[in-house]
C-alpha cells in the first residue's frame, strides 16, 4: 500500500463527508454561491476586530532584529507573560509565563497535552456529542476515546462519567461552550465533575487530568459567564485559540495553560514544551504570537453572533424544530425529525442548505448548523428549513 493502512481507512471512512462537501461545491457552481446556504463549517464570517489590523501594521513596521527567528519552544516570553497576566486577571489563581505554552491553535495545544499525557491504550473520557477531530488527536498518540453521552440538555451526565472511569482512564476532555451543541457547562456541574475526579484520583493513587478545550469561551450570550475550570479542579489544563474570538482560524495561534497548582507541574510543562517541538510544530508562529499579546482582551462583536443565534433559533422553533437554545459558540444542534440524520441532511441539501449530520459528532438523530454566516443567509434559508421539516414531520 502506498499510504499507511490507517490513513487509507480514514480517507475511505471520511469519503461520505467529502461526497457531501463535493455535492455542496457542485451546487454552488450550479446555482451560484449566493443561492446555496452553507451552514456546514465553523469558519467565522465576522472579520477580525479593527484593532487586529492596526496591530498587524504596527508589527509589520517594527525594525527590531530577530523578530522572525527561533525562540524557546514554549513561545515568546513576553507573550507568555501577557497570557499569564490575562489568566491571573480572569481566574482566582496567579499564573506565570512558565504555566503557558503558545501553540499552533487549539488543535496544536490539544495534541501537545495529549502526547504529553498518554501511554498507548490509555483512555480519555469525552462527553458526547463532541468534535470528532478529537478521535484523530487521541489516535495520534495511541490513546482511546471513551465517549459518554450527555443528558438531554447536553450537560455532563455525572453518573455516566463515573461509570466510564477505570484503571485505563488518563483524562477527561471537555469543551464548553460546546461544538456542536453550544452548551455552556454550569459552575456547579464543573465543581461536581472536579469533586468526582478528586475522589477517583485518590482511589487510583494517581491524578486523572481534566483538559478543557475552550476556544469559544468569549462567545457566550444572555450575560452568561463561562466558569473557570482551574477553580473546579487542580489537575487541569486549558487549551484555547484565538481562532473564533478574533476570527483568525487560518493563522493557527493559541495556547495551553496548566493549573498553577497542578502536582508534577514542572515535569508536565517540560513534557509539553518537548511535545510542542517534536510533533513538528517547533513553536507557535512568531508574528501572530506578537500580535495576540496585544489583543488578549479583544474579541469580535459577540452581539452579532447572538443576533444570528436568535434569528435562527426562533425561525427553526417556529417551523417545528426541537432544539436546546445554546448559551454559547455558534452552533445549533436541533433534533432531526427522522432517525436517519444523514437522510435529513440530504433532504436539506435538496433545498441548497448545507449542514452536518449529528452522527459525525457522536450525536445521531441531530444535525449541526454552524450559524457563523451572514444574517441574510439565515434569513433566506429559513423557508427551506421549514419546507423540509414539513415534509418529514407528521
Amino acid at each position: 500500500m502506498p499510504t499507511s493502512d490507517k490513513i487509507r481507512a480514514a480517507i475511505e471512512k471520511s469519503s461520505w463527508i467529502r461526497k457531501m462537501f463535493e455535492e455542496g461545491t457542485a451546487r454552488k457552481a450550479k446555482y451560484g454561491a449566493d443561492k446555496v446556504f452553507d451552514f456546514s463549517i465553523g469558519n467565522p464570517n465576522l472579520e477580525p476586530p479593527a484593532k487586529f489590523k492596526e496591530v498587524l501594521k504596527e508589527l509589520a513596521g517594527d525594525p527590531s532584529p530577530g523578530l522572525h527567528g527561533y525562540m524557546p519552544n514554549a513561545g515568546i516570553v513576553a507573550t507568555r507573560k501577557a497570557v499569564a497576566d490575562y489568566l491571573s486577571k480572569h481566574n482566582r489563581q496567579t499564573f506565570s509565563a512558565d504555566d503557558v505554552v503558545m501553540t499552533v491553535g487549539a488543535g496544536g495545544g490539544l495534541n501537545v497535552v495529549l502526547k504529553t499525557l498518554l501511554n498507548p491504550g490509555e483512555e480519555v473520557i469525552i462527553p458526547s456529542p463532541y468534535f470528532v477531530e478529537y478521535n484523530f488527536y487521541l489516535d495520534n498518540h495511541q490513546g482511546l476515546p471513551k465517549p459518554v453521552k450527555t443528558k438531554s440538555d447536553f450537560s455532563v451526565d455525572l453518573p455516566a462519567v463515573e461509570e466510564a472511569l477505570s484503571e485505563k482512564t488518563k483524562a477527561v476532555l471537555i469543551n464548553s461552550p460546546n461544538n456542536p451543541t453550544g452548551k455552556v457547562y454550569s459552575e456547579q456541574d464543573l465543581k461536581n465533575l472536579g469533586d468526582l475526579l478528586v475522589q477517583y484520583s485518590k482511589k487510583l493513587g494517581r491524578p486523572i487530568y481534566l483538559i478543557s478545550d475552550e476556544p469559544y469561551r468569549k462567545i457566550v450570550y444572555d450575560g452568561i459567564q463561562v466558569p473557570s475550570i482551574f477553580e473546579a479542579y487542580t489537575e487541569s489544563f486549558v487549551v484555547t485559540s484565538f481562532s473564533k474570538d478574533l476570527s483568525l482560524p487560518g493563522e493557527r495561534i493559541g495556547y495551553a495553560a496548566v493549573n498553577p497548582e497542578m502536582s508534577d507541574k514542572q515535569s508536565m510543562m517540560a513534557g509539553m514544551i518537548l511535545c510542542n517541538r517534536v510533533i513538528g510544530y517547533v513553536n507557535a508562529p512568531a508574528f501572530m504570537q506578537r500580535a495576540v499579546a496585544l489583543l488578549l482582551e479583544e474579541s469580535v462583536d459577540i452581539a452579532l453572533y447572538q443576533k444570528k443565534r436568535d434569528m435562527l433559533y426562533d425561525g427553526l422553533a417556529a417551523s417545528g424544530y426541537e432544539c436546546i437554545k445554546p448559551g454559547g459558540a455558534f452552533y445549533l444542534f436541533p433534533k432531526s425529525p427522522i432517525e436517519d440524520d444523514v437522510a435529513f441532511v440530504s433532504a436539506l441539501q435538496e433545498e441548497n442548505i448545507l449542514t452536518v449530520p449529528g452522527s459525525g459528532f457522536y450525536g445521531p438523530g441531530h444535525i449541526r448548523i454552524a450559524y457563523c454566516v451572514d444574517d441574510r443567509t439565515i434569513e433566506k434559508a429559513l423557508p427551506g428549513f421549514e419546507k423540509v421539516m414539513k415534509k418529514f414531520k407528521k
Copy 2:
C-alpha cells in the same frame, strides 16, 4: 506517572543537552553574552531580506475579507499555484497546485509525509550523521529509523544503503545540503540512489519512497547547484521551509511537494492533506502563506554565509582541525581530536565556545559548529578553538 513513559524517558535522555544549554546560559550571564561564542543552534543571524518587510507591510494593509480564515487544509490555492510554478521553473517536470501542501515549516511537512506513509514498525533509512529530530518524527507515527553511515566525505554509501534495505523499508530520508555536515549530494549520487530504489521497489513489488528534506537548498557556495531529487527518482517527495533561506524559522512556514509522476499520487496527496489536518496543524499559517507566495525567488545574501564558512574553515584548518569543506548549509562538522566528542565540546565550553557533540547527530567523534553567527563571533572564537585543539592534539 503524570507524563507518558515515552515523554519522561525523552526528557531524561535529553537532560545532558539541556545541561549543556544551561551551562551556556550561565556563562552568558556570568561573562556577558558578547564574551560567549554560541555556535550551538541553527538560528540564522541574518535578517530576512528587505523585500520580506515590504511584503509584510503590504499584506498587513490589505482590506480584503477572509484573509485570516480557514482555507483548504492543503493551503491557499494561489500560494500552492505559485509554489508549483516555481517548482516547474526549477525542475524539468511540470507541477500543479495539487502537487503541493503548505505546511507548518519543514518539521510539519516531514510529519505529514511520514504519517501518510508509515505503518507501525516500518523503517526509514537515513544516511548518518543526521538531524536526530527525525527520530522523534518517525516515532510520532510509530516508524523506526535505520541509520546508515555515510562515507568519509559524508556522501551516501550506496552499498551500505543496499544492505539496509529490507521488507520493512518504507522510505529513504535524505537531507542535502546536510545538517550537520554541510554536504551537498552530487547529481550522480542521487541518480545512483534512485536507480537502486527503482531496482529494489521492483523486487518488493511496491514503491520505496524517497523523502528529500531540503531547507538549505538555496544556501550553497562556490557556484554549486543542488540537483533535483524529482529527476533522480519518481517516487519522491520534497519537504522544505523558508526558515533558513528567508531567515523565518519562528514563522513555521514551508511546504511538501510530490513528484508529479508519482504512482498513486492522488491517494498520497489525499493522505497528506488529511494528515496536515489531523496532526493538529490544520493548515500552514495563513498570513505567511500569502507572504512567501511573493518571495519564492528571494533569499538572504548567501555570499555572507560563504564568507563566514571561509573564515571559520580556514581558521580551524590552520589550527589543525580536520574538516570536510562543506558546499552548503551553515554548519561545519570537524573531527574531534579525541574520541570523546562530549569531552571535547566541554573543553571548548571552558573557552566560552558553545558547540554540539557529533554524537547528538549519530556522528560520534565530531562536533557541529553552526556558523550562522556574526563574523565577529567567528573571529573572536578562533583563538579559543586553537587553544583547545593544542591541548588535545599530540
